[in-house]
Symmetry: C2
Subunit: 381 residues, 2 copies
């Protein structure tokens, strides 16, 4: 296909991206973080696209956050030089991380145990360049990390110093913010995230470690933070696309969702109130992130081609290459008239998961009816 192909002319299912909405989402969070006086290190695991990273950073060098070393390598290939790999480092990955440093990348890696500090210090014994290290802090019991007053934090820093490995600072992620609904409690979660990171940084400084970086972030807390005193940078990823989960959490509206899946109607079951499409879970992902929300969106919310949601029409069920559109139970809405061959746009529960099912973005033109460009995505590890 060529650029400027009409949406009616591309193969389905296909991942659509509205760059005007993307830009608006990015500008909104930048404005908020600028006002709070902190720098911004977007998490590009959501985008996995060098073109979108360059749109985030007109000078093209970062800083960014990544979730895999494959992402780090890909974005470094594209000229990004300031990268934090924000998943706990497996010792076997040290050599690959060092290869990035040897290429000139300013790389930060994440650890939360003495074992990992030993492994890094042991590796550093050869005298070649090492990545800098962030110590993961747990602010809400969500995942990994050390509690902010755990003496292990200083023990790790001491071990790194003894081994000649640079400590960059501390990093935390308020993952429990994904369990908020309608914005309730998010300012408090943002403050707890800030307080945990700042406390851990204080512990390190009291023990004689500089701790220049105090990194926090999740999309919900980044938007609801009111004061980030002591924090140096904020990370967030899904904010750039937003999705139905973020809408349920209270961070965005439906109009803020920048990605959708284009699907074609392939059949009907009038007896069951079903419309079948060619966008199953392979196109939407298996993510059911709104399952426990007050508004369960199934596998996605169905919109007309102009992006307007049909009343209460969701992807009620999905198999590998079939989506079943149904009216949300109890809503009283009626099925729209969508003959075989009609096309719809489906908003995803989770933009990271849905986008990961696709190899490329179909970027919409200003009118939203044609494909202005194709942007590749990467995957794998």
């Amino acid at each position: 296909m060529t650029a400027a192909t009409p949406l009616t002319g591309i193969e389905t299912p296909a991942l659509l991206l509205d760059l005007a909405t993307f830009d608006r989402n990015v500008a909104r969070l930048r404005r908020h973080l600028d006002a709070l006086g902190v720098s911004f290190r977007p998490h590009v695991k959501t985008a996995k696209s060098i073109d979108l990273a360059r749109r985030l950073f007109p000078d093209g060098t970062g800083p960014i956050t990544v979730s895999t070393l494959a992402e780090a390598e890909y974005f470094a290939d594209g000229g990004i030089t300031d990268i934090t790999y924000a998943v706990g480092l497996a010792p076997e990955k040290i050599a690959r991380a060092r290869a990035l440093v040897a290429r000139g990348v300013s790389l930060g890696v994440l650890i939360d145990s003495i074992e990992q500090a030993h492994a890094l210090a042991d590796a550093a014994a050869d005298g070649a360049a090492m990545p800098g290290v962030l110590i993961e802090i747990d602010c809400d019991g969500h995942r990994g990390g050390l509690l902010p007053h755990d003496a292990t934090i200083v023990a790790i820093a001491d071990r790194l110093r003894a081994g000649g490995v640079a400590l960059l600072g501390v990093l935390t992620h308020a993952g429990e913010s994904y369990n908020a609904r309608g914005g309730v409690g998010l300012p408090e979660m943002a403050e707890a995230e800030r307080a945990a990171a700042v406390a851990a940084a204080g512990l390190l400084r009291d023990a004689g470690h500089a701790c220049p970086v105090v990194s926090v972030g999740s999309t919900p807390t980044a938007h609801f933070a009111r004061d980030l005193t002591g924090v140096t940078e904020v990370r967030a990823g899904v904010f750039m696309f937003f999705d139905l989960v973020m809408r349920g959490i209270g961070v965005c509206t439906l109009d803020d969702i920048a990605v959708s899946v284009l699907a074609t109607v392939i059949g009907h079951r009038a007896d069951k109130g079903w419309i079948l499409t060619d966008a199953g879970w392979m196109a939407m992902s298996r993510d059911r992130g709104t399952q426990k929300h007050p508004v369960d969106q199934g596998y996605g919310l169905v919109c007309a081609m102009d992006g307007t949601p049909f009343p209460d029409l969701i992807v009620g069920d999905a198999s590998q290459e079939h989506g079943i559109l149904t009216v949300r139970p109890g809503s009283g809405a009626t099925l729209p008239d969508l003959p075989v061959g009609s096309r719809v746009r489906i908003l995803p529960n989770h933009a990271c998961a849905t986008s990961a099912q696709h190899d490329r973005y179909h970027v919409l033109d200003d009118g939203g009816t044609r494909v202005a460009a194709i942007l590749p995505r990467i995957r794998g590890w």
Copy 2:
């Protein structure tokens, strides 16, 4: 990496494939279908690998079933010449289907509406070659298709004949068999699937249509069918790998599962009873297919490197690149000692969904400790 790399030396997460188990699974179903006197048309949406398709068919030409036209084109590129595309045909895909026929592929496409028959007949007016057509029959209310006695079946056949498009026959899929547990009811579901397809074929023949193909299949019903009189071929896909869902349904044992995800331990939360790995939902998929089973396997069942499951150790939760291993609630099992850097193998809920998260298989050698080969997979549409 080179072939015969030890499993301890490859990057994680990684998709492992045990070909001996694959071969055993294939031989088991072939034997059963041979005894029932029907031919076998495996669904390669599970494998998405020409190497595995060639293993299924030593002569390399099929017959196979696919779920996308991209699969059809890929397998045709690899020499497969007999392909059924078993998802309802969007009219916009007719040209792409015809291009396969023009290349010499014997292609069957699936429809269940007069609108689709019109679209095919209209396309055929130019006189160039068309795919053959299968009419989708609903045997259990699971998805698309016409009820076996619906007069639309004959109307579609008449419309195709008037338009000069070849009718191959009827096709049904007992998707509700995925809701069985422990094998209960599966012989009856297999009989209902057979009966629906045979009844629809009878309707067509009574109306003067030949209906040479009577195609049925799902992995559960394929294994539990006791009599397939009137059926000409059986389709099944996930059987070649099997998975925890199939184990819960009662079609296989844990020993029959041919794919697993290799993961590395990256941290611990002793206070919470958690072991963290680098295999999150990006590596496992978001599939929670055992969520409503008597034995909920979380995002996967965790095994030692020799493939032996740890007692009741599951991936209790997952984020994009983190898996949280926990002991199954109420089991009384204890967490194994798995230091940072240890490796585990995780059995998936749904082999199709988990495999789709990976670009390649790491094929185990006979001892199960080294990678004997890398086989690429395809994706997309």
